[in-house]
Point group: C2
Chain length 208, copies 2
DNA sequence: TTGCGTTGTAATCATCCGATTACCTAATTC
DNA sequence: GAATTAGGTAATCGGATGATTACAACGCAA
């Protein structure tokens, strides 16, 4: 019922910092960079709004840190997978690693928000750099061909979109959704579905 | 050098309406829903800001119209492709149609912006509906299997991300970008590259 | 020309948001 | 235990933004 961390009075700034970063990741992931406010982040972290901006300088720098941390997690998860059991093909190991990452929607959602802001002079640059870092990892460290890497990334982007769209919210009401999700997350469907329950006020889909 | 349409004095409201919708598509596509302002749209369309909101009621309704029009264009392009030359496989026809759509970045970018806003109570619903409409078209009208449709959509999502990220801006400076783009747009690379010149102030990528 | 509906804008409003300032209080040090 | 640093917040500011209102100019019909 209670939150995981419920400290009273003072806390080390470093601890508070990761709390705020976690909150920012969730908020930015749901609302996007421009749609989120520093006050939303502050409330989610249980601190005051001025404290958030003073810790990170600007809203933009806060988002860049969130983005950077998301990329770090992906890269390290992939590196672990690459160093894993050589019996199973590397593409499958990486796929499993990616699947594990979906447990925290915000990681992948923040990446997607950055990816579609390529026209932004500062976020766009970081998005391109981060994306190409991942591509290079697939090519050079995982030993994939350009076509294999492209195909792997394509599947990942579709998974990201499906998560961002909250398609799981319509799992119960639309058989086509079930079918598609089954194709996007082969074998893992039931597992991943448990981690993505529909929002409380899930509106039934209306056709236009 | 001059814009396509340069009418003086009065114009029929319907004509003006499509001008504003075109402008809105570009602006929303670049900045996203929350990042764009009605004033940016107004300036791009050459009208006053109050006129924009009076024509469409609210900024949200304007975005929904942009989104709806984008979906309509995709659906009709796909239906044309499905009705095309039966000699060439339908997946290839659809791929060509999708490639043609990339000529207007904003169509696909607005879709992506909507797709990552699934948590929004009104945009999210439209995003899911529109996406599933496309999926159903692939399954029922194009006769694809669930796996074929999923694979097709995956490739499309990667293409959208690559366009949104403005990866073409780094084509000249990064060989890995060239390689990846070659894998994402097989055969069509040179063709599509002509339609996506880098921004004037293209910042060279910095590694973090 | 007068009248009137359509097309459009200038001015303005209320709100929100990121950022700044000034201040407060719990620890830590000496 | 006084002094000092570190961890915070309340209050507020200036600018941006979506929306409203009131008004102006054009064009057409009688």
């Amino acid at each position: 019922m209670s939150s995981v961390i419920e400290k009273k009075s003072r806390m080390a700034a470093d601890e508070r910092r990761v709390l705020v970063l976690d909150a920012a990741s969730t908020v930015f992931g749901n609302a996007g960079y421009a749609g989120a406010t520093t006050d939303m982040v502050a409330r989610a972290a249980g601190v005051s709004q001025p404290y958030v901006v003073r810790m990170f300088g600007t809203k933009e720098q806060l988002f860049l840190e969130v983005l950077h941390r998301a990329l770090e997690r992906i890269m390290s998860a992939f590196r672990e997978a690459i160093a894993g059991d050589p019996e199973v093909p590397v593409a499958r190991r990486l796929g499993n690693a990616y699947f594990t990452l979906t447990a925290d929607r915000s990681i992948l959602l923040n990446l997607m928000h950055a990816f579609v802001l390529g026209a932004d002079p500062v976020i766009g640059v970081q998005a391109r750099c981060g994306f190409m870092d991942v591509y290079r990892l697939l090519r050079e460290e995982a030993g994939m061909s350009a076509e294999e890497a492209s195909e792997f990334l394509a599947g990942g982007m579709l998974a990201n979109v499906v998560l961002g769209m909250r398609l799981f919210d319509d799992y119960a009401t639309d058989p086509a959704v079930r079918e598609l999700l089954g194709a996007v997350f082969p074998e893992k469907l039931e597992l991943i579905r448990k981690g993505h329950p529909p929002l409380p006020a899930s509106t039934p889909p209306r056709v236009t």
